[in-house]
């Protein structure tokens, strides 16, 4: 018996030893300070952070993020989570004003595009310091940050953001010119104001290399990177040498909480101050005065994809019949608690390219049956492929039931995300697919996947129309927003006639914060932590 208790005691002690001694390995922490960082010239004295009471606890903003980061280098970041974290650390010449689509100067004191759209002259604000002693930001850093995207050896997935870039001409310590090979409208909507436009420290990137930089980035933003504990926490602290108005929080702690119900519990328990919740949890927060809620209708789009190359869907009348057989509001109700905004075309309201008069098709089962009869089709059997998320599965079941009512039998195939997105020959055999794409605030980011060169890649409609491709190419070079909108409306009309997309919704985002916290949310549903403040 003594031995037994000894064994149990050993187990208990062992657990304590593990607790006390487990080092957890060396987490990627702060980047080594730059050696002999050049002294800043004419740098303004850093603005002092708000005076804190002595010995007071640091003021920490705790945020729930829906997944973990992977790589904070803007040339590589694989998801929006990396972008939202890096947004606190890095800055570009211009960026979107928090909570709006208004582009404002940030690192640029002046920035102007030539009439032909090929040259952008910029003048930097002077004395802006990089974090961790990497010295003053100059035009050389701008040149390095943008031209690195063109480096074949870098293998940057976001190379397309700078595809029209010829080179960056440095004309002075703080001045330069961005020279383009052709006009490029997304430059001002997605390239310069977002990640690809961030000015990074040339010295830091050369010292650390892209790999280390991706784990411990250096920027000019209000917060500097402290530590990333994978699957647990990302810690940022206020950059005391920041050139602008200091943010309110001494530190920002970002917790990757993948489970939505756990996130709701963490908000209720006060373990996090702000986070995204699912529509099903949202209502109980809206009625609780301890919290503030925000619902943002974004620009990410969701649709039922019809494979133009499928022999069963080759006849346009069959595709039209499916369009009339489904009831979009009931799909939104089942999948998203009725809380997502219905989509009638690809480009969301408020964007260049929005098709205001796009037809919103209402369910008409009789018309669907008559179209099927005209096509001479009966006992049609189709596959509907969807990923294994609950909303998609619910949507698939509603579609299955609605199509059954007009005589179409649907076999639902549910797969995990990686299998779902695995491009290859087998995608071509899918008849119907429920798809959702996230996008950026420029229509080119939405339309690019459905051109001829994307067939067998991401264009799962398998619809290829050279005329449409040409219109899309023209739109990317058109700098006049009104003319651009006309071009994108034409593109969307062609798709509507082809009946290969049955638009369902634009994704909405549901955020909950402590009642006394104001967190700006961009119109595409991404939060801006550095701009958060108390009421």
């Amino acid at each position: 018996m003594n031995k037994t208790f000894r064994l149990i005691s050993i187990l208990a002690v062992l657990s304590l030893v593990v607790v006390a001694c487990g080092g957890g390995g060396a987490a990627p922490t702060e980047a080594p300070a730059a050696t002999q960082a050049p002294a800043a010239t004419q740098a303004p004295a850093p603005t002092q952070a708000p005076t804190q009471p002595p010995a007071a606890e640091p003021k920490i903003l705790k945020i729930r993020m829906h997944s973990d980061i992977n790589n904070l280098d803007p040339a590589f970041w694989p998801s929006s989570t990396d972008e939202m974290v890096m947004d606190n650390i890095g800055q570009g010449l211009v960026q979107y004003k928090p909570g709006t689509w208004e582009v404002v100067n940030v690192l640029a004191d002046e920035i102007k595009q030539s009439d032909d759209g090929l040259t952008i002259d910029f003048k930097l604000k002077e004395g802006i310091q990089f974090q961790k002693g990497y010295g003053e930001m100059t035009a050389e850093d701008v040149k390095f940050s943008y031209e690195r995207f063109l480096d074949e050896a870098l293998n940057a997935p976001y190379r397309g953001d700078w595809a029209p870039l010829d080179h960056v001409e440095v004309t002075g310590k703080y001045t330069g010119q961005i020279i383009l090979k052709e006009p490029f409208a997304p430059l001002w909507t997605t390239t310069l104001p977002l990640g690809s436009g961030m000015v990074l420290s040339k010295k830091a990137l050369e010292e650390l290399g892209p790999e280390k930089f991706g784990q411990s980035p250096i920027g000019t933003g209000p917060y500097e990177f402290v530590e990333w504990k994978p699957k647990e926490k990302i810690t940022l602290k206020r950059f005391e040498g920041y050139w602008g108005d200091p943010s309110e929080w001494d530190e920002i702690h970002i917790f990757p909480i993948v489970e939505d119900s756990a996130a709701a519990v963490a908000l209720e328990s006060g373990d996090v101050d702000f986070g995204r919740v699912e529509p099903i949890d949202f209502d109980r927060f809206t009625t609780n005065s301890a919290f503030t809620t925000q619902a943002v209708s974004g620009i990410d789009y969701e649709w039922l994809n019809l494979n133009y190359e499928s022999p069963k869907l080759k006849d346009a009348k069959v595709r039209e019949a499916i369009r009339y057989a489904i009831d979009v509001p009931s799909i939104i109700e089942a999948a998203h608690e009725g809380k997502w905004q219905r989509a009638c075309a690809m480009i969301a309201p408020g964007q260049v390219g929005y098709w205001a008069d796009a037809p919103c098709y209402e369910r008409d089962a009789a018309k669907a049956q008559s179209l099927l009869a005209e096509a001479g089709v009966s006992n049609l059997e189709l596959t509907l492929t969807t990923n294994n998320s609950e909303p998609f599965q619910a949507a698939a079941q509603v579609i299955q039931a609605q199509l059954a009512e007009v005589g179409i039998t649907v076999d639902i195939e549910t797969v995990d995300d990686a299998t779902f997105n695995d491009i290859g020959g087998h995608v071509k055999t899918r008849d119907l697919t429920l798809v959702s794409y996230s996008t950026n605030p420029d229509p080119s980011w939405s339309t690019v996947w459905f051109l001829c060169d994307q067939v067998d890649q991401w264009n799962w409609t398998y619809y290829c129309n050279p005329e449409l491709d040409e219109l899309n190419a023209q739109a990317a070079k058109e700098l006049d927003p009104a003319k651009r909108t006309d071009l994108y409306v034409q593109v969307q009309k062609i798709w509507d006639e082809a009946a290969v997309f049955d638009w369902i919704s634009y994704r909405s985002f549901f955020y909950v914060s402590r009642a006394d916290l104001v967190m700006p949310i961009q119109p595409n549903g991404r939060w801006v932590a550095w701009a958060a403040h108390s009421k």
Binding site: M1, K3, T4, L7, I8, L11, A12, L14, S15, L16, V18, V19, A20, G22, G23, G24, G25, A26, A27, P28, D68, N70, P78, S79, N155, P157, Y158, R159, G160, G214, Q215, K229, P230, K231, E232, K233, F255, P256, I257, V258, E259, S261, A262, V265, A266, E268, S269, D271, V272, V415, D416, A418, T419, N421, D422, I423, G424, W449, Q457, W458
Partner: protein
């Protein structure tokens, strides 16, 4: 004893080798392209192809298996496809949290489940026995993720006594223990019920043995008989399942890690499967397999240590 340990260590190595071969080949049968996850949709096909070559995922399977094993034996499990961080570092960060969770849960299950089983066995067919029986079965049928959510809602949300997320800091043991209480309880609940039933059955069997009757005849105190003489023999089969239990807890820990947003090996592997991050899947499962084998080895050794009959048999042999 020495040869026994040597033989078991040899078996451990063999299991590790088989696991490595299996893992290195398994990933090729799972659909899904890791390059698409890493590069995202914006990457061109040329770029995707180049990255595929760099990742060696297009090499012949036997070459990949050889590369994986030869690197693994040198302690190199490769790098995370997405972040480029060495897999050994990711595992070394995650593993202590999972070990702490599994070991604490098992200790908790033992400390509660064993006395509960003895208590129940010493009062057979009474209301107390029936009540502990109902409680034990209820515990067995309660999945850890349901228990975890209940515990969170009660102790973190309603009472505000415990943290809802995270693992705390290793450098601050009281804080770490505080973060460990709810997850380890959620994970231990099933095992408390299981151990209670197992110990009850074993103790009931032992109580019919002659030496126990003799002990009663000598007028020894009941408490001494039950907890010293009866439990000493009754506990041996229970110890054997500790090894299996640790492995089981490593698997079950994933739900708890997700619900409590704790870092850990289970969650690391789960997320990596979803993103087809093969090096982490291979490295993580290899470490989990080794832990499982090692835990079983420890259980067998403790069995050997606790049961003098085995030692006597070995001596005779």
């Amino acid at each position: 004893m020495f040869y026994y340990v040597l033989k078991r260590l040899g078996m451990t190595l063999l299991v590790a080798l088989i696991a490595m071969v299996f893992l290195a080949s398994m990933v090729h049968f799972i659909p899904g392209d890791p390059v698409k996850v890493i590069l995202g949709p914006r990457a061109s096909e040329t770029l995707s192809q180049r990255v595929r070559e760099e990742m060696e995922i297009e090499l012949p399977i036997p070459v990949q298996i050889f590369n994986f094993i030869s690197r693994a034996v040198r302690g190199n499990l490769g790098r995370d496809f997405v972040s480029g961080v060495p897999v050994t570092r990711l595992i070394s960060q995650a593993l202590p949290h999972t070990l702490a969770l599994a070991v604490t849960s098992m200790a908790l299950a033992g400390l509660v489940g064993i006395p509960l089983g003895v208590y129940s066995a010493t009062r057979p067919n009474t209301w107390a026995d029936r009540l502990t029986g109902i409680l034990s079965v209820a515990c067995i049928t309660l999945p850890s993720y349901v228990a975890g959510l209940f515990l969170l809602l009660l102790f973190a949300v309603q009472l505000g006594l415990m943290p809802a997320i995270g693992a705390g800091e290793f450098s601050n043991p009281p804080d770490y223990l505080r973060h460990l209480i709810l997850p380890s309880t959620a994970l231990a609940i099933t095992w408390i019920g299981y151990l209670a039933r197992l110990v009850r059955a074993s103790v009931l069997e032992v109580l019919n043995a002659n030496y126990i009757r003799t002990a009663f005849a000598f007028g020894l105190r009941e408490r001494l008989i039950f907890y010293k003489y009866a439990l000493k023999n009754a506990i041996i089969p229970t110890i054997a399942i500790f090894g299996v239990g640790i492995g089981n807890l490593l698997g079950g820990a994933i739900f708890v890690e997700v619900i409590f947003s704790r870092p850990g090996l289970g969650r690391l592997i789960f997320d990596s499967i979803a993103s087809r991050n093969y090096p982490i899947v291979r490295g993580g499962v290899l470490v989990a397999a080794l832990l499982f084998v090692f835990a079983n080895l420890l259980a067998d050794l403790s069995y050997h240590y606790l049961d003098p009959r085995i030692q006597a048999e070995e001596a005779r042999a």
